[in-house]
Each structure stands twice: as C-alpha cells, then as structure tokens.
Amino acid sequence: MFPQFGATAETLSKASSMVFRIGTDAHLYDDPEDVNIAPLLDSKFDSEKCEALKRLLALIAQGFDVSNFFPQVVKNVATQSLEVKKLVYLYLLHYAEKRPNEALLSINCFQKDLGDPNALVRAWALRAMAGIRLHVISSLVLVAVGKCARDPSVYVRKSAANALPKLYDLRLEEHTSAIEEIVGILLNDQSPGVVGAAAAAFASICPSNFSLIERNYRRLCEILPDVEEWGQIILIGILLRFVIARHGLVEESIMFSLHSTKSGESKKNGEATKISNKEDTGYASGNDDFGLGADVSGNIDLELAKMVSRCYIEGPDEYLSQLSYANTGPSELNVAQFTSGKRNDDVKILLQCTSPLLWSHNSAVVLAAAGVHWIMAPRENIKKIVKPLLFLLRSSNASKYVVLCNIQVFAKAMPSLFAPHFEDFFICSSDSYQIKTLKLEILSSIVTESTISFVFKEFQDYIRDPDRRFAADTVAAIGLCSQRLPDMATTCLEGLLALTRQEFLSSDFGSLDGEADVLIQAIMSIQSIIKQDPPSHEKVIIQLIRSLDSVKVPAARAIIIWMVGEYSSLGETIPRTLSTVLKYLAWHFTSEALETKLQILNSIVKVLLCAEGQDIQSFKRVLNYVLELAECDLNYDVRDRARFLRKILSSNLDSQGLEEETNILSPNKDLAYVLSGHIFGGQTKSSSPEPINYRFYLPGSLSQIVLHAAPGYEPLPKPCSLLQVDNVDQGTNGLERARNSDSFNTDETDSLSGSLDEEGASDYGSEHSISGSNVSGGSNETGSASEGDDNTDPLIQISDVGNAFENQHGVSHSGSADLGELISKRALESWLDDQPNSSNTSTSEQSQVRVSTARIFIGDIRHRVKTKSYTLLDPANGNGLKVDYSFSAEVSTISPHLVSVEVFFKNCSSEPMSDILLEDEESNKDSNSADQTLVATDSSLTSHNNVPILVPMEEITYLEPGQTAKRIIQVRFHHHLLPLKLALFYNGNNLPVKLRPDIGYFVKPLPMNIEAFTDKESRLPGMFEYVRSCTFTDHTGELNKDKGDNVVVKDNFLVICQCLALKMLGNANLFLVSVDMPVSTNLDDASGLRLRFSSEILSNSIPCLITITVEGKCNDPLQVSVKVNCEETVFGLNLLNRVVNFLAESSLVPL
C-alpha cells in the first residue's frame, strides 16, 4: 500500500518505531537497496523515479558506487518534473567524469533546457552542463555560458559566472581569451550579485589580468557594499592587488617602514616613527584609562613591520631564502613605488568603500576589509580595524581562532594598535587550548608598563587553572613579558620564584606530569630573565641553587645545574658555595636522570676551568670522582661524554696536578687545554635579540593559519608593476601603444554593449515565440502585399514596419492609429514615393528601446555578386600553368555531399600544355601502386555512401599558351574545415595541390519568405543560436567614392545594404530573405539595419538561418552582429566564424 515503506515486515516495524520519521526519507537512507532500483528508474511515474533517485542518492551519501545506473538515470534528464530533474543533476554531477560517454547523452537535453522560459531551469541546465566537465563539449559550454552571461535573469547570469571556473578547470588554451572576455562582461554587469560571482571567476581564472579591473575599477569599488558577502571577500582582495600593481604601496602606511629603514634615511625614519609615536600615544591616552603616554615601546616594531611587508610582497619563502645567503636582499622597492594615500584617489576610494564592510556580519568580510586597511591605510587610520577585529572574537569558536592568528601578526608588528584593548585577550574557560596560547602570545607582545600589573594579576589566576599545560604556557608568557619590559624583570622573578617554591611542594609528591611542565617552564623563564642581566640577579641564582634539593624534575634540575656552571664566577657568594654544591652534585650523581648527569659533567668542568686558587684541587677531585662514576654508567652518552672529557682534560687532571707542569707541557696538551677552555669556559655572549624568522602571509589567507604557502597562494603583486609596463611601452612606441589602447577601449566596450543589446532583444523574441503559438498572425497579409508590389520594380519597397519582435506578437493589425506618427517622420518621407501599406505599430515600450524599421527590397542583386576565386596552383610552381578555383552556387545533382567548384586553367607559359587533369590524390595513388590496399580501403572507408571524393572532370587535352579553360568539378570534402588533397596531372607530370573548403558553400539557398523565416528562427532558440559580432568597413569605400563623384546621390542605407548583401552572397551560398531598415530621424544612424539570409546544409538539408544586425553610424565602420540559428551546432558555429571572418575582412573590390 505504501510502497515507500518497502515490502518487508522488518522495515515496516522500523518505520513504525520511529513516528517522527514518518513522511521523511528515513527509510530510503536506512535501506536504500530494499527494492530493485532499476525498474523504478524506468517507471513512467515521476514519483517512482523520484524514489529511485533518492535511493541512489542515499547510496552515494553512504559512499557506495552506483555509477552502473548511469545510463538509466541519464534518460530521465528529459523529465518535466523539476524535482526529478534536480535529483538527476545531483546524480549526474557526481558521476559524469567517470562515465563521459553516457554523460554526453544528456547534452541535447541541457541545450533544450537552456532555451526554457523558466530561469531556474536555464540556470540548472547551465550549472549541470558546466559541471559535468567534459573536454568534448567544452566549446558548447562556452557558447552556452556566453549566452547565459547575457541572460535577462540575474540568477542565470550568476550561474554563468560560476560556470566559468569550471570551464577554465578543463585547461582549454584555445578558449582562454573567450573565457576572459566573458569574465569582463560579467564584471561589467549591473547587478551586484553577478559582479560578486564574476569576481570569484576572475580570481580563479585570470587574477593578474588587471586590464579587466582597470576598466571599471571605480564602479567595482562603489558597488562593493552591495555585492553579496561571499563576493565581497574575493572582490576586496582583487581590488587590493590591483591598486598595489597600479599605484604601489602607500607611503603613509605601515608598509612604508620597509622603505624608510631600507634606504637608510635614518632622519626620515626617525621622524616617521616620532610622528607615529606621537599619534599612537595620543590616541592611546585619549582612549585608555591607563594612559600609555609614557610608553616607549608602543610604537611600531620597525624590524618586524619591514619583514611583514616584504613577506607580503615577495612571499616568505623567497624572502627568507634571500635572507639566508645575502643578509640584505636586493632592494627592489624605491620611493617611486610608493604613492600617497592622501592624494591618490584610487587608494582613497578603496579605503572608503571597504570601511563600512568592517561592520559586516560575515567575519570573513570583516577580516578581508581589515587586511586592506592594514596594508593600505595611513598609520594613524589603521586603528579603525581594531574594534571590528576584536568584535569578531565574539563569533564562533572556529573563526575566533583564525581571527586571533591574524591579530597576532598585527599585534606583533604594531603593538600599540591593540595595547589599549588588552582586556579582550583575557582568557575564558570556554576557550580551546589553541586559542588560549594565542591569546597569551598576543598579551605578552602588547603588554606595556602601565598595563603589565593588570596582566600579571590575570596571569596569577591562570597559573591555578586546572589545565596545567595552559598554566605552563602562562609561566612562559611571563618570561616573554619581562623580556619585553626589562623594568619588570624583578617583579616577574619574584613571582616566578614564589611559584617554584609552591610547585615543588606538589611536585615533591610527584603527583602530576603537568606540574613538572609548569616548574620547568618557570625555571626556564627565570633563566631567560637572568640571562639578560646576570650580575643583578645573583641572589636569585643562589636561591635556585639552594632549592636544588627540593626540585625533583630532571629538566628543571639540569637548568639550575647549568646556571651553576655558567655563573660560577659571578659575584662573591656563588664562588664560595661552589665546593659544597659540587660535592652535593657528585654525591647525587648516580641517582640523577640522564640529562642531569650530562649537565653535571659539563658544569663541573666549567667550574674547574674558571676556578682559581685552592679550590682547584678539590674541584679536580670531585671531577675525577664523577668521571669515574660516569665511565661506568649504563648510558652510552654519559660514558662517551666522560671519556671525551677525561681525554681532553688529561692535562688538568694528571696526577695531583702540579700547575707549573701543565704550563710547560707539550704544545699538544696545551692545545687541548685551550680547546677545553674554549668549549667550556667561553663566556656566553650577551643575548642578542633572537633572529626573527616568522613567516608572514597575507592577512586572512589560509597560508597564514597553516604557516606554509598553500598551493595557489600568491603574494601581493609587485608594486607598480602595472604602471611599469605602461611606461616601457610608451617609451618605445608610444604612439602605437596609445592608438592600441584607444581602440581597445572604445571598440571593446562598444562591441560588448552592442552585442548585449542585440542579444537581449533576440532572446526575448525567441522566448515570446515559444509561448505565443501564433507566430505569423498579422504579418501574413503584409507579406502578401509586398509580394504583390514586387513586380512594380521600385528598388525599395516598404512592405512592413516593425521588426521581428513585433511580428511575433502579431501586433501589426492593431496599429493603424499610429499611421500619422510614421508619416511625420521625415526620414521615412525621403524614402518613399507611395503610401505605406502598413503602419508603424511600435508600442510605447518598443519605441523607447528600438527605432522603427521598414522592410525594403533591394531587388535582384544576385547578378552583381562576384564570387571570390582562390589559387590552386601558382604559375611559378606549376611551370606556367595557373589554376584558380571558385566555389559555385550550383548544386550538385549527383549527391548532396558534393560541392561544385569551378576551376579555371590558364596557360601562362609560352608552350602549349596537354592532358590536364585534376584527380583525387587517393585514387591516384591507388592506380599507381595497386599494392597499397591499406590506403585504398581507408579511402573507401572515408568515402561512405559510395560517393566519390571527386567527380572527375573532363580532361583538357590541349591548352594553347595564353588560353584559358574552365571546368566544373564536384568535390566531396572530408570535413568542412580541412583541405582536400588533389593531384593535378599535366604534361605527364603529377603535382599535389590542396583544395581548401569554404563552409559558405556547404549550404545551398533555401528560398523562404519572412514569415517562414521567423517561424523557423523561433524554433531554434537557446543552444541552436550563436552570435558574434565584428566590424564591417566595406561600405565606407563605396560611400566615399560616391562623395567624390557626386553625380548620383545614393542613399547611404542602400549602399550599406548592398555592400553587406553582396559580401554575404559573394562568400556563401545563401538566399536573401529580407532587409529591414531603420526608420529614424537620424539619417546617419544605421543602427537597426537587419538582413536575413536562409540556407540549408547540403548534406542533410538542415536549415541554417543567418541574421545580420548593424549598429553604428553610416560613414563609420559598423558594428555587425551575426546570428546563426542552426540545429547542427558545430556546423553552425563554424559557419558563424566564417561569416564573421569574411565580413570583418576588408576588401575594397569595386562593384
């Protein structure tokens, strides 16, 4: 009864046991295979298909491979139900790459869906089509994306933008420019939603093609706040990169410290820091209760800031490697690469438009905007980012961590930024361990004299935290703080010592591992503080040494013992205690842990080497004793160390060591003495600040979190790299460059907008025609009227007004009221000598968008058509025989696969020629060498349907010098693009020649009237429609010529029409259906001129419709957009390319 419960009682009980799950898809997930899926897929009910697909989806979710259902699923792609469609797409996208051949079966369906009036269906079809990622169909997808990029629906355009990276992923070198062009179109889109997606496409396809950004940088900045949040993240990054590449870094920004330290302009540097210091402290004391006025370390850490900026630009790996072999890498940056943030408008607008984004509710947007300000904003304005960044810490735990990682860098490079907000880094018990350590690190780098007391108070609480790992980190942080603020060292030491006293109480009982860590960390912190200024901390050292008895943790003991050796000669008290301490250590030696043993050996030697006076003897005895113990130790390391020491110190230890003796010993021993002195007695250098080898990546990047360059990480572009290219070019060939860029800018945008308009219109047209069944309605009568007028030979005949758009609405019968409007137009009057027999019917909406048009008849111009001829054989190559050919409009009667070609032979030599024959190369070979059967079979294979490749021509037996002969051959080309190899015989010679096909002649004229044309056109929407535009210039010569003659003033429009028509007919075998002419007040504006041609493909009689629409001024080069509607997608595309090529080709052949 309920099929979805399955048949078995088991599943039924399962379902009933879970009342809540009734009506959900639970049973499908639990038992996806409890029914046979295959028959369900073939069911004719959508609900059953749906169930089957859900079961498949459940299997996918659970990680099973169900790709064997692929063929059956693909069949269902044609369904009308959107739910089934969605499920099919989900399945399809999961497996398409695995089953490319079957996936191809779905293409036709997608193409159909792309013409669907429902925008959702179009968008889904595009997403799925691009998502199946097959190389074979990439060109189809490209066309589809190009179309959808001009779709009226925002959602579809957005999908188109998202589809671009999918296309790009296929690595189609030949399409790169086309893809980038579409990115440009979409970046230019009016809707912010589309721009966001386009930005994402830009970032993954051509992140360095800044020319696309340059064109509409300002608009992008202004639209930024309205873009979707996800797009904002990407777009901010793109704009930042662009500004840096274009204008360089900002001299007021923190990045400038790089330059000021680098170039050694110490004065300027000093000034800069002074200024910033003043500002910083001013700000701080204004806002902060604790007043940072006296703070000296509040300014920017210049060294670090320099590193940060270099890392941002060069990438840390490159930068660090430079550091390793050359201390100062080549300074590529100079003053010219900086720009003023206050004067540069582009920088200003970027900062302006990103600052409201600091209020975004998406934390990624806030961080991206903060990154821009960090890099570009003048120093005094950077503080703007602080509060928003800190506010991010209140969002989810996961983002908290990422934000803190970024704040850490900011805080290190510019501690004053976050110093007043130290409270925000206090730790909550809910923080994860990673967050806690980050907060500690930030706290210790932003702490100041005035805030340290609060921080220490806080730290004291942390030390009692039950998480001992965290407590140990806190102790380490105390050490770091006191290193930053040497004045606080004593306070820190007291606290730490108190801690060690406390901790050994607990560690005495050896309770927890964690306690040991805390203790070790405390001793290490103490050690690091002492290192900074040993003499003043003598008492601390003594205290520590005294505590040796109670400290049980080996690592901690080892550090204290190290201090014994290191500071043995320090002050007055320590040397006096030494002998007791050493005896104590020797006494305990056997019970110590490994690291302590090694440290004891080292320390005793150190003490011995530094010792003076009577102590030496006792020290030597101690050492001897310890060495003996050590040589019997169980551990190899200890034994080896002991032997090494004994050998190297043999001079010192010998006998009961007479000092005079050692002094006059052999140089050999002396050397050992010096060596040992160097190894153990060397004074530690005063601790220089540790070399910084942090890695910095751009704020907000993944690499910054994982601390290595993730694949695809790009540092900032080289400052001013964009500008430099410009300069170089202008230097060399400035004029040409200028002209190029000029034409680039104007032409490009013109053609884009032009084609956009046109596309929009035709799109609407096709959609409407789908919905409105009656296509030819009112235009029938006008059509017949025009036919009637044909005979009365005026060259131009107004037969209909209104363009295809209106025709399809069938409005022409409704509009006689508008007659006056039409007549009043002077433009029309100049055209007409009789009454128009139809009326202008433009609706109000129409007249805004497009000018009215009149259909004209330009008479039979076929006789004026000149076909172009090509050279088959040059007389120079052919011993004086010249062979030309041209494609003929004649249609072969033998087979539809044959194309007629007229071949002209001319004897240019002085001697007569004989036996001229053109033959197929293959058959020629065949006859020559009969054994080449393989080739023969090949050729017979290719010439299927028993159509010969070449219908042999009649042999020219004799050709006098200067004589010409014409023959017609009929050729079957293998492919409409690849040349055909032929063999030319004459005078007994054999020459191979290549006959290049012309796709324009793979069609034959298909006579039809305009109604039939629009009807056919409307049936070929979506994927069957392709548009390209080009520039047409032929008419200009013609018009100029007329000007010169000034005899008969021809009409501009007519000249253009004729030029276009002749060009078309001269290059392709077409039928001119109609010419629509714009009727407007502006006589010079040819926009709206439209020619329609029809044809059918020779081989399979599939109709192929061509529409040409003109934009632009009569006397200028025209923008011509060519639209081809054809079911044979590949053929149509090739034909379109051919048409565009020959239209754009300027040939000023006189008529």
Binding site: A58, Y89, H94, E229, A364, L390, Q434, L505
Partner: protein
C-alpha cells in the same frame, strides 16, 4: 575553493558527502580525520583549520555533527568556516535541530540545500529567505501528504523573485492581514571576576532581533536614544551604511520573518546584577567548598534560571555537595551543576560541601572556574534604549512591539 563537504556523525560515521569540484576528495580523508580526532582528543576537535598531508580541512562542530570541508588550494579560511556555520544554521533551521537521525532522515533535503548553497566550491545562495522559497521546509503537512500520496515535491518550480530584486534578502511581495513588527534587544553579559572578587572585565554583547511580518516593501528606520554607548557594531546586509555613519540611525528594508538586524558590544560595565562568592579552603587532603549567590544590583526585574556550574579539578577523588536552595548535580564528566532558579526573598542561596583530594595531595593547588548563567526578562543591562521605529511604505498602521532580555554569556567567577 572548497572541494568537498562531509557531514560526520558524533561517532565518526560519514553521513553525507557532497563533491563540489572536479577534484574529488576520497572519503578516506574522513577516516584519517577521525583517527586523528581519537588519538589527539578534544583539542583536535576544536581546531578549525587542519593541514593533512593531502588536504586542508576546515571543521565546524555543531551539536555533535562535524561539518568538514576540504580544499587543496589557498582560500580565505574564514570564508569556509563562516560558510560551514551558515550551513549548520540553515540545516538546524530547516530540520528543527541538528542530530544524526534528523540529517539522515532528511538527506535529500540536505543535498538539495547544499546544492543551492554552493556551486563549484563557491557559496551561491545562502540567504535563508530565498532558500526557503526554493526548497520547501519539511513540515507536518508535507510529511503527511507524502505518506498518503507517496509523492511530494519540495523543490520550487520557479525562481524566487528575490534573486532578481535589489533587496535579495526579502521575499518578494509578502502579504499579511495584520502587519506587525517586533524588535527585541537580546543581550548577553560577559564578565570575569578574579580570585579577589574584583570585576576584571564586564561587557555586553547584544543583538537587535527583529521579527517582521509586513506587507509589500516597507522601509524602516530605527534609532536609539543613546547610541554613543555602543562600542562596536555589526549589521545585517539590509542595513544601509550611510545613515548609520552620519546619524547613527538604522535604516533598512527588513527580510521577512525573524532575523538579526544588528549586533553590538558595550564595554566596561561597572557592575553585575548578581554576585557569586566561592570559597575553597583545603587542608590535610580535604577541601571545604562554600559558594554564596546573591543579588548585587537589583535590575528591577526578576532574575531567573540562575545556575552555577563548574568543573571539578582532576585531582579530586570525590565530592559531597549540598545546597540550601535549588538542586546540585554532579554529572559524569566531572561537571557540577547547581541550579538555583530564582533567588528567594528570605535567604541567600548557598552551596557547601567537601572534596576529597587525591592521596598524597595535601592542598588543592588548582582551582575551578565557576560559570554562572541567569536570565532577566524585560531589561537590557547595557542601558541601550530604542528611541523610535518609523515605518514607511506601508498601507495601514502596523503593530510595533519592543522587548528586552539579558542573559549571562561568558560569566565566570574564578576561585
């Protein structure tokens, strides 16, 4: 860009996988992930960005469900995390909560939602209002319908109008018989009180939540009486930046239904409404605990749902706790929870008892942190006040309602 999203149950089972790009991610990465999670314990589960040998993983854990996203290339990590959070929000909104069963039961909807929310690894539609129009929410009616007819489609047949409009967050042209709009101030108090009982940090994190049921395309203006107290703000995309910059006025076209208009922060508050005073004294292997709770600053409304929670330090063997008001529970994970409810008029609630320490330990050297939660209806403790709410573009006068609520956020008392 993201390459794959996995949904893992709390036992590590992969419930769903959604491949996003051509570079598919094998689900063996989940095995690796779970292996790490087991071996490294909780700290791994809290790590949002993980670099495995083959992929970078982003994880967001919500109510036991792990949302795992993989990528191999550079991308803003916050984008991935924020997106996963958004997915979690949308799913729990759709399914009425998040758990293993509910995701498995509605896996088709989850797939459909994911498919709308992300395309080729880049977020596509994340606005809940639009999603709700594209994919129907499962409800009782649709469930019953599907049982009876065996057929129900939850996929919308047409594109929501909002995708094309200039206010993409708003359902196109909703109609209501009675127009009403409610504005709630929901505040959370974060406070830290240190060992000495001093208030280290006290601040308010607040949200302005709006529930709007308004017809047509209304234009709202909300202003505060004292906007200067706000330390920092974040806005829903519907808020226009300009009016806020110039006059600190919120001007917006609201989404339909419940949404978070704005969140804000008020720092440096001077006092808390209640006090919690823990005292721990340890001697000879036992530790006496005494915790007192009382009202410090009466906010004028009743404080209810007061609970005090703390984690017993690991070195405690056993605990014996009693209270004079409310109930004390010690949970299995060594968390002790004392729920008080309301503070009675006649006595101050207190909890006392003893801990037995580990053998060998004389005194307690680590101290627990007490987490306090409470709720106060009708008061915004930050002192933020709504001045007025103006509505334009509405046919008839709507009903306007205002409410306020404060509850404890990260309210911690150290001992």
């Amino acid at each position: 860009m993201l390459q794959c999203i996995f949904l893992l149950s709390d036992s590590g089972e992969v419930m769903l996988e959604k491949q996003l790009t051509g570079h598919r991610v094998d689900r063996s990465i989940c095995d690796w992930f779970w292996g790490q999670a087991i071996s490294q314990g909780d700290s791994f589960k809290l790590q949002p960005v993980i670099a495995s040998s083959t992929h970078y993983l982003f994880q967001v854990v919500r109510e036991g469900i792990t949302f795992l996203a993989c990528t191999q290339v550079e991308m803003p990590p916050l984008m991935a995390i924020e997106f996963l959070c958004r997915v979690a929000d949308v799913l729990s909104d759709y399914l009425g909560g998040l758990n293993e069963d509910v995701i498995k039961d509605n896996f088709v909807i989850v797939y459909e939602l994911l498919d709308e929310m992300i395309d080729n690894g880049f977020p596509l539609t994340t606005e809940p209002n639009i999603l709700r129009e594209m994919i129907a929410q499962p409800n009782i009616v649709s469930k019953m319908l599907s049982v009876v007819t065996g057929n129900s489609s939850n996929v919308s047949e047409t594109l929501p109008g909002a995708t094309a409009s200039c206010v993409p967050w708003r359902t196109s042209d909703p109609k209501y018989a009675n127009n009403e709009v409610y504005v709630d101030l929901v505040e959370e108090m974060d406070a830290t009180i240190n060992r000495d009982g001093a208030l280290v940090k006290c601040e308010i994190y607040g949200e302005v939540q709006v529930n709007s049921h308004l017809s047509g395309l209304p234009d709202l203006t909300l202003s505060f009486a004292n906007p200067s107290i706000l330390d920092d703000v974040r806005f829903h995309p519907c808020v226009r930046f300009r009016p806020w910059e110039s006059h600190q006025i919120l001007s917006f076209v609201p989404p339909d239904g419940q949404f978070k208009l704005m969140s804000y922060r008020v720092k440096k508050l001077k006092s808390t409404p209640i006090y919690v005073k823990p005292q721990l004294t340890s001697d000879a292997g036992t530790c006496r605990v005494n915790v007192m709770v009382g009202i410090r600053n009466d906010p004028g409304k009743t404080i209810d749902s007061i609970t005090v929670q703390f984690k017993l330090p690991p070195c405690i063997l056993s605990a014996d706790l009693t209270s004079n008001h409310g109930t004390v529970n010690i949970l299995t994970n060594k968390t002790c929870s004392w729920s008080i409810g309301r503070i009675p008029k006649d006595k101050a609630p207190s909890m006392s008892g003893t801990f037995v320490l580990e053998t060998g330990l004389e005194r307690l050297h680590v101290f627990p942190t007490f987490q306090v939660s409470f709720r106060i209806m009708g008061v915004a403790l930050s002192g933020l006040q709504i001045d007025k709410l103006d509505l334009k573009n509405l046919p008839n006068r709507p009903y306007k309602g205002f409410r306020a609520l404060t509850r404890a956020g990260e309210f911690e008392v150290r001992s």
